[in-house]
């Protein structure tokens, strides 16, 4: 059920159920209401009143029963209205005139995430449903697919859609919702293949290509297959309507462009892109390669500043026909290259299973895997860990070395000694780190940490290529702002390319944040 609220985020005030004192209820009396006033960080309304109801209250459904016909109601108001029908005296409780405070409800089950007031739910119906669903018995079952539900309205909602509407893609996948079906369909291989077939059957002429650079319908050749299947033969040029988009797959750097596209990549520095106009020449599929070609300047710059940053090719309209020629040829090598590196990376990513917190090989860290350890137990363990000195090996595994000194060495200020230790650990021994680093870090964490071990230290020395978070095209030695500065210049109306300084003083900023140990030793 959708809790659609047209007004402010105050939940529907059906709190009467918990404070009701209608004479007709036969069920258990309402639970004691614990009104706790606390500041609740993260909550939109720290002034909200936190209400904790008992399981009985939450599970009770029809607590208000008509004395005449024994019909049950969830709310007193509904019962009163029903009583009118029996010509019984009825009375609707008026909303109190005092200021309405937002109420939030917590779950009585201590292990539940919603037991925490900061995870409280905003309305009574919600908490009742939650309790029922999560901690209640699943009494309702779908006949068709045998899914079980604890809340009747959930079951009803499911019954509406189960098996009723089904969308089937040509590839065989079934969808219960049209939007997901449509989205899949648009990108599915099955559609691509179907259009190949349609084109082959049609044998019609392609529409003549108009030389204008705007809004003309240009036909695009290849339908590239997904990387998992072998590359399909290029389609005849009458397949789809596409403006001159180059199917250029750049690998790591613009210089690595496959030979089939030599004319698309003028060697840097590229000419001003003013002539590019509406012609979209995408050189460097930065998204998937994450190479240095992904630059902000691509949106907003008028010129490409740094040599390594952009693989921009600005074309004049006359080169439309030039563009079309290479389009017919897929670039299996480049794609394959990407695919391989991706599959390698993804296999690296997926190989580590974090089913155990600690690795089975390698380091022996505290051999517990009990997430439900009480705080006190952990405290004691941590103390033990410290006492035996094994704790330092824990973080050494992380690469955070501590001086394994005894308490005699304590006169040295803590900071400089450890900083010195850390500074000397520029070359991380790969051997000390196992997959997972004994941290049970999640899938991505484990392998990527291992990945990262292999790379050079980047933060410290300025190796900007590895800091390409923004795809700024950090070339060697160039300030990691190639794209940004271009953006700057264009936005500032400055025609000069790449002259602008780093936004936020990247280099200086980075250094000020990550302070080298000289002068100001800081551990963290």
């Amino acid at each position: 059920m959708v809790e659609f609220d047209n007004s402010s985020p105050i939940a529907s005030a059906s709190g009467e159920a918990c404070v009701s004192s209608s004479g007709n209820q036969t069920a258990a009396p309402p639970a004691a209401i614990a009104k706790k006033k606390r500041s609740l960080p993260g909550m939109p309304d720290p002034e909200a009143e936190v209400i904790a109801l008992s399981p009985k209250t939450l599970l009770a459904t029809n607590r208000f029963v008509c004395e005449i016909c024994n019909k049950g109601f969830q709310r007193d108001q509904n019962l009163q209205l029903h009583r009118r029908g029996h010509n019984l005296p009825w009375k609707l409780r008026q909303r109190t005139t005092k200021e309405v405070r937002k109420r939030v409800y917590v779950c009585p089950e201590p292990s539940c995430v919603h037991h925490d007031p900061r995870r409280a739910l905003g309305d009574l119906t919600g908490i009742k449903k939650h309790f029922c669903r999560k901690h209640g018995e699943k009494k309702w079952q779908c006949e068709r697919c045998s899914k079980k539900y604890a809340v009747q309205s959930d079951w009803k909602a499911h019954m509406k859609t189960c098996g009723s509407k089904e969308y089937k893609c040509d590839c065989g996948t079934l969808f219960s919702r049209r939007d997901s079906f449509m989205t899949h369909r648009a990108f599915c291989d099955a559609l691509a293949q179907e259009s190949v077939r349609a084109e082959a059957e049609a044998e019609t002429e392609t529409t003549p290509l108009l030389p204008s650079s705007k809004g003309s319908s240009k036909e695009q050749g290849t339908v590239a297959s997904s990387s998992s299947s072998p590359p399909q033969p290029p389609l005849t040029p009458s397949t789809s309507v596409l403006s001159p988009v180059l199917s250029i797959q750049s690998s790591e750097a613009p210089e690595n462009q496959p030979a089939s596209q030599p004319q698309r990549q003028p060697p840097p520095p590229p000419p001003p892109a003013a002539a590019a106009g509406a012609i979209a020449t995408a050189s460097g599929s930065s998204a998937s390669t994450g190479s240095s070609t992904g630059v902000f300047a691509s949106i907003l710059a008028s010129s490409a500043p740094g040599p390594t940053g952009l693989s921009q090719s600005s074309q004049s309209p006359s080169s439309v026909s030039d563009m079309l020629c290479p389009m017919g040829r897929p670039l299996p090598e480049a794609r394959l290259h990407e695919t391989m590196s991706h599959s390698l990376s993804s296999s690296l990513f997926l190989r580590s299973n974090s089913s155990s917190i600690f690795p089975t090989t390698g380091h022996q860290y505290a051999p517990t895997q009990q997430p439900a350890l009480s705080a006190t137990a952990l405290l004691q363990k941590a103390a033990q860990m410290g006492a035996t000195g094994s704790g330092s090996s824990f973080l050494r595994g992380l690469g955070l070395e501590f001086p394994s000194s005894s308490s005699d060495n304590q006169e040295k200020p803590l900071v400089t000694s450890t900083a010195a230790m850390w500074n000397s650990r520029v070359k991380q021994e790969i051997n000390t780190v196992d997959s997972g680093l004994g941290l049970g870090l999640p899938i991505g964490g484990a392998s990527s940490l291992t990945d990262r071990m292999v790379g050079p230290s980047s933060f410290y020395r300025t190796q900007p290529t590895t800091l390409d978070l923004l795809g700024l095209g950090l070339g060697s030695g160039v300030a990691p702002t190639a794209g940004f500065s271009a953006l700057l210049t264009s936005m500032g109306g400055d025609g000069s390319a790449g002259a602008a300084g780093a936004p936020f003083g990247v280099n200086s900023g980075a250094e000020s944040w990550r302070d080298p140990a000289e002068g100001k030793p800081s551990l963290f």
Partner: protein, 423 residues
């Protein structure tokens, strides 16, 4: 450095770091005080904060201890709290490494590209929970209505989901009573290096989308922009109207005042200025409803922990513990957590801003908000109905907000430049 508690620790720390002694919480016992019994979300948050503050005050011992405790809690296949903890711990470790040069790169290209997916996998990914679909649905519905009667439409698409939004719009345009318009979609070459990452290029995405449009008989063109973003460069034709779609985008534009700009505008504001100058017919802004751009680490940790439990909880409700899809989705959120917690300065690219703040920013930039009409609200509502209970929607002035169990998750807004010539 021995991590002895009580007794001797106090003595040692007194020698080392007098401030530790002064601070009653500067010890593991302090960190865990009040957490007796189960380590629930509140305790975990406390531990995270303690770890961060230990790091900031150069207390290696305490940081180590707290990390050890957190590590015991963390599990990528446990309950949502444990999963969250594992990602947060990773972020803290990343942060520690940032200052300690040890040969490790975090959040770098190689690590990011470790996991890519195919287009069909991405199509499934964006529909795992309505997190993205909400924004798509609200935006497409609003766009559909805004372009009624127009015969040529150009959409500038700034988003990170590789055009997953458009098939449903193309579908609805195909069925338009007056026939579909000529549709152009342009995307920038640049995209922040964040998940989800495709294993094919944006050109390929464009090809498939064009193929689909052709199949639906919608005249279509796909552009990849590398040139300057101004009207002449965009090549807007006579009666072509411009739609600008920003989904999960503005947060990647830094918000600090630029040192070199004369008016000290931030990148984010400068971008808004530029798109305003393009005189768009409608601007859609969708993003995650949380303020995570603060410079204060502790507040970021708290806010992030108290916000990202929402999608983790939703995933827990719908997918089994060992679901690979779920773990991947969570890993992507972990990537975000790592960036928010583990990095500073320019490397911290995730600078989320809540809907309320964004709305103010848009108004300051000279936009006025457009209301979502009743039909749009109904469409979003019925879309959410098709997903299981728990997902809801709120309307906050002109803003639509996706809620999970009542907690705000994603907001959607629509804007138009003030004093626009067009109606």
């Amino acid at each position: 450095m021995k991590a002895e508690l009580r007794g001797s620790t106090t003595t040692i720390s007194l020698q080392q770091n007098p401030s530790l002694f002064a601070n009653p919480n500067g010890s593991l016992s302090g960190a865990l005080s009040g957490c007796l019994g189960n380590l629930d979300g509140a305790c975990i948050e406390k531990l995270l904060l303690h770890c961060a503050s230990a790091m900031e005050s150069n207390d290696a011992t305490l940081a180590q201890q707290v990390m050890w405790v957190l590590n015991n809690v963390a599990s990528a296949v446990g309950d949502p709290n444990q999963r969250l903890t594992s990602w947060f711990l990773r972020a803290l470790v990343s942060r520690a490494h940032g200052v300690c040069p040890s040969g490790m790169n975090f959040n770098d290209n190689n690590a990011l590209l470790r996991r890519t997916m195919s287009v069909t996998e991405l199509a499934r990914y964006v529909d795992l929970i309505p997190w993205h679909r909400f924004g798509f649905c609200a935006a497409n519905s609003a766009i559909f209505r805004a372009i009624q009667g127009c015969s040529r439409v150009h959409i500038l698409d700034f988003s990170i989901t590789h055009c997953m939004q458009w098939p449903t719009l193309i579908d609805s345009l195909a069925k338009r009573p007056e026939g579909p318009p000529s549709l152009r979609i342009s995307v920038p070459t640049w995209r922040p290096l964040v998940p989800p990452v495709l294993n094919v290029s944006i050109e390929e995405v464009g090809i498939r989308l064009a193929n689909f449009a052709k199949f639906m008989d919608v005249p279509f063109e796909f552009n990849i922009l590398i040139s300057q973003l101004d009207p002449s460069m965009l090549g807007l034709s006579e009666n072509e109207i411009l739609v600008i779609n920003c989904q999960n985008w503005l947060r990647y534009l830094p918000d600090e005042p630029r040192e070199d700009a004369s008016d000290a505008n931030s990148w984010r504001d400068a971008f808004l200025e530029i798109i305003k100058g393009l005189n768009p017919h409608i601007v859609i802004v969708v993003d995650e409803d949380s303020d995570l751009g603060a410079s204060n680490l502790s507040s970021r940790i708290s806010t992030c922990f108290n916000y990202l439990w929402i999608p983790f909880d939703a995933l827990e409700t719908f997918l089994p513990k060992d679901s690979a899809q779920r773990i991947e989705y969570e890993a992507d959120m972990g990537h975000k957590i790592e960036n928010i917690i583990g990095f500073e300065g320019i490397q911290r690219i995730e600078r989320l801003e809540s809907g309320i703040k964004l709305s103010q920013r848009m108004k300051n930039a000279g936009f006025s908000s457009l209301s979502f009409c009743e039909e749009t609200i109904e469409e979003v509502k019925s879309m959410l109905d098709e997903h299981a209970s728990g997902w809801g929607m709120k309307k906050d002035e002109d803003m639509l907000v996706l809620s999970w169990k009542g907690h705000n998750s994603v907001y959607a807004t629509a804007w138009i430049p003030c004093e626009s010539e067009e109606d």
